[in-house]
Structure formats: C-alpha cells, structure tokens
Amino acid sequence: MSTGAIVMLIVSAVIVWGGLAAAVLHLRRHPEEAED
C-alpha cells in the first residue's frame, strides 16, 4: 500500500471509530435522569 493510502486508512479509522467511541463515552457520562 502507498504511504498516502496507509495514512488515510489510519486517519479514517481514528476519526470515524474514534468518533463513535467518544460519542458512546460521552453518552455514558450522562446517564438518563429518572422520570418525574
């Protein structure tokens, strides 16, 4: 694989999968409040 392709593979993985991990962690840190 070319260097450009390897870099984009890593960048894509970090942003997209990292974005998912960050979004999940964020949601877990904000648990649902109990209903009134």
Partner: protein, 515 residues
C-alpha cells in the same frame, strides 16, 4: 392511542441499537465502498465527514426532536406541529410502504444466496445464474407472466419474521430483535473482514480504496455524492426516526443519541469498505486486472461479483459466503422492521387500533403486495425503477420539503432546538439551525436539480417510457397524491384531542417554556 399509554423503549441502549439497526442497511455494505472509491478514495473522507456533521446528524436530531416532542408517528406528529403539515407525514408513510415491499425481496434473495454459498451452486457464470436460473427475469418490462417459488418462499418467511417482531411490540419485539441482531451483525461482519484481509491481493484493494485523490475535493459532484451517501445511508427523510423517537422517555438525550447513531452508521460503513475492497483486491489480483475493472456496487456487487469471488477463495469459501449473505440479511431485516413500523404506527395513531390487529391488517397488506408483485419475472424491473424514483422523488424530495417547511415556512427550528437542548447533553448552538436551514436545503435542492436534469435527458436505465411513467413517476407521485387525499379525511373526536395538544405545544412554545 393516547400519549400516556404510548409504548416505550425498555432502555436507552435498546433505542440506540434499534436506531443503528435501522440506519445500517444494505446501502452501508454495497453502496458506500464504491461511492467512496469512485469519489476520491481516501480524500472522500473530508466531504463525507463534513456531510455527516452538517446534514446527517442535524437531520437525525430534527427527526428525533419531532418524534420526541409530539410523541407520535409522522402524520400525527406533523399535524401537531401544524395541521397543514400533516400530508408530509402521510407522504413519508407512503414512501415507507413502497420501500418495504421491494426491500423485503432483496433480503429474501440474501437468504437464498446464503444457502447457495454452501456449495457455490451459482456455478461459474454468476450473472447468468442471478438473472436466469434464479430470478427468471423476463426479456423486457411487461405484464407479470410467472411466479418464482424460489423467491416467494423465503419472502413469505421474511415477512412472517417481520410481522412477528412488530406484533410483539416496541420493547419485546423491535428492541429485543435489535439486541440480538446488531451484535450478531457486528461479529459476523468482523469475522468476514478478517477473512477478507487474509486473502491474496487484499492490500491492492485497500490501496485503491484509501489512496487519496485530493483533486476530488474541488469537484462539486464529489460533494454531492458525499451528501447523498450520508443522506441515504442514515435512514433520514422518511419518518423512521420520528417513529422510533416517539417511543423515547421524556428525558432522553436526543443530540447525544444522534451522535452515537450517526457515528455507528459511519463506523459500519468504513468496516464494509475495508471488507469489500480487500475482497475486490483479491479478485483483481487473481484476474491480473486493475481494481477499477472489478469495482462495482449494488446488486451487481452482492449477487454477481461476490459469488464469483467466493468461487475462487482458497480457504473456507462457504464460510465467507454465509458470513456475507447472512450479514446482508441481518442488516436488511433490521432496517425492514423499522420501515414497516412507520406504516403500522401511523395507522395506529390515526385510528386508535391496537398493535396486533394493526400489524395483521397493515403489515399483512404490505406483505401481500410484496409477495404478489415481486417474486415474479417482472420483479427485478419493478424493484429497480421504483427504488430509483422513490429514493430521488420520495426520500430526498420529502426531506427537502420538510426542511423548507419546518425550517422556513413554519419557522419551527428555534422551538425544536430549545426542546432538544432541554433534554440533551450536547449543546447545538447555531450549528444545527444553520445546517438544517441553509446547508441541507441547498445541497438537497442541488441534488434534486441534478437528478431531474438527468431524468429529462434519458429514461432511467433505458427502460421504455410507459414503464418509467407507471412504476417510476406513478409510484413516487402516487405517494404524494395519496398523502394529500388521506390528510383531507377529517379526524374523529378522539384524534381531536391532538388538536388540543397542538394548542398546548404552541402555547408552551410561545411562552418559551420548551418542554
């Protein structure tokens, strides 16, 4: 059905899995890899992420907000937003009906192909097998001349599964099914990708997929492709997320959930891109041709190219085939459940019918149309044309009308933003209104112009005009006309309660109380 008695998701995770199950469908597996490859490879990431953040996730939040605020499926929810907006909801119901009748057929094909994989019974000429031996496609569009039991039987089974899941309800049916199917899909697809990465030539395919062509970023059509992919892949624009969000509890993190669902959908797409292009790299290397010559998408990728590749896989080809087609089936099934639920839920909200009778009558009717029309020698033609037209002049056009009507004509974005921020952990600030009020209508408007121009230049797929006019324009236009006609039927007193809701909502909004 009163709002107090409305069904609810058991847990937030259950809702998220169902939302992800709806978004992750066939398009993630067979559309994204080729669109990305064809539009700049690695460089496509830039317009793709911009589209995700400026259109995909904002649209998801909009649908979550409408469903959550008005606690109803699209027709009743839009009616509560403004009584003249009701046809928008029925239009989305019509779109869901059309999509579900043909989408189920592709899931049924995947079931059969999972079986064919065991012995690679499609033979050497996989194209001739698909169109001839398996589908018995007629030479040209025309009246239905024959039924195909090989498709009809799995199609009936798929519909039975869908109706049982829907009949069991939101918590015991839809949520339970997604709790099983989504982790299963992730595991199956991960194994498939690992197997693909070990194929000879996998790195050639990955190189073709990720090598960036930075000149693509300045090409307008690449940006349109990115917005189109995000848009069609996320299952926004036809009311699914309104319906699913209507089953959320009052205090639900809408924006936070939309970020998870949006990134989960893209995460699966990226994984599919890696798996598909590693496999195509193997095919190209084996045939000693460039990857560009074997790269394709849609039905051709899944039911022609992949069987051909499976024929040549040296180790465990049957496993690879079963993993691929069962993944397709599971991804399609969870999306199909969500699409039919929109129709069922809308009729329930309109008539007050209980779930099981509604599923039997509405779901049963949808299944009957699907089973009567598509497992035939005309099925593929009907599927191809209705899919194209309902996507362009159903989903995309309805979404354009929704953002213009809700964002501009009714000026409801500030109110929906207040509603969302009152329950969300992620601040939306001006980004959300700007994305929905400006970016999304401009991009969707351009996509529509682009698409209509192409339609006027030549018949889609070179089909005869009578067929395009009936199965294409007729179906897409029929959804719009029916939506208006159904909206003209006066609501009974029971439904009149919802007028009061409308007033309450409007009052609350004017007083700035949000929730």
């Amino acid at each position: 059905m009163s709002q107090q008695n409305r069904e609810q998701w058991g847990t937030r995770t259950g809702f998220l899995l169902a939302a992800i199950g709806s978004a992750v469908g066939l398009g993630n597996i067979w559309r994204f890899p080729y669109v990305a490859y064809d539009n700049g490879g690695g460089a496509f990431l830039v317009p793709y992420l911009v589209a995700l953040l400026t259109a995909g996730i904002p649209l998801l939040i909009l649908e979550y907000a409408i469903g959550h605020r008005y606690r109803a499926s699209p027709p009743a929810a839009y009616r509560r937003l403004n009584r003249f907006a009701q046809p928008l909801g029925w239009w989305q119901v019509g779109i869901c009906f059309v999509i579900s009748v043909y989408y189920a057929v592709i899931v049924a094909w995947a079931v059969r192909y999972a079986g064919f994989s065991l012995t690679q019974s499609w033979g050497e000429d996989t194209e001739a097998f698909l169109y001839g031996d398996f589908l018995h496609v007629a030479d040209a569009p025309g009246p239905i001349a024959s039924y195909n039991l090989g498709v009809l039987i799995p199609l009936v089974v798929i519909w039975l599964v869908v109706l049982v899941v829907l009949g069991l309800g939101v918590r015991r049916g839809i949520e339970w099914a997604n709790r099983i199917f989504i982790p299963l899909l992730a595991v199956l697809f991960l194994i498939l990708v690992v197997q693909a990465l070990f194929l000879d030539g996998a790195e050639v395919g990955l190189n073709a997929f990720f090598a960036p062509d930075w000149s693509a970023i300045t090409d307008g059509s690449v940006w349109v492709a990115a917005y189109g992919q995000i848009f069609f892949s996320l299952s926004v624009g036809f009311g699914i997320m309104i319906t699913y969000a209507s089953y959320l509890r009052r205090k639900s993190d809408l924006a936070g959930s939309a970020l998870v669902a949006g990134f989960a959908n893209s995460s699966f797409e990226l994984l599919a891109g890696i798996g598909v292009f590693a496999t195509l790299g193997f095919m190209a290397s084996a045939a000693d041709v460039p990857v560009g010559e074997v790269a394709t998408d849609g039905l051709g990728l899944a039911f022609v190219a992949f069987p051909q590749i499976i024929n040549n896989i040296p180790v465990a080809p049957a496993l690879f085939g079963v993993l691929f087609f069962v993944s397709l089936m599971v991804a399609g099934l969870t999306s199909l459940v969500s699409i039919v639920e929109v129709v069922v839920s809308s009729v329930r909200d309109r008539t007050g019918m209980r779930r099981v009778p509604a599923v039997l009558i509405v779901g049963g009717f949808t299944a009957a149309v699907s089973v009567a029309v598509f497992p035939t020698d005309q099925g593929l033609y009907l599927l191809d044309v209705s899919d194209h037209f309902i996507n362009q002049y159903g989903i995309a056009l309805a979404a354009l009308v929704v953002v213009v009507v809700v964002g501009w004509a009714l000026w409801r974005l500030p109110m929906l933003r207040r509603h969302t921020e009152a329950v969300s952990s992620v601040p939306m600030r001006v980004w959300w209104a700007l994305a929905l009020g400006v970016v999304t209508p401009v991009v969707l408007g351009f996509m529509m112009y682009d698409s209509i121009t192409a339609e006027l230049q030549a018949n889609y797929g070179d089909y005869p005009s009578w067929f395009i006019n009936s199965a294409g324009w007729g179906v897409a236009g029929g959804a719009m006309v029916l939506a208006v006609l159904i909206s003209l039927i006066p609501w009974k007193r029971r439904a009149g309660d919802e007028d009061d809701t409308n007033a309450t909502v409007a009052d609350a909004d004017q007083s700035g109380k949000g929730l």
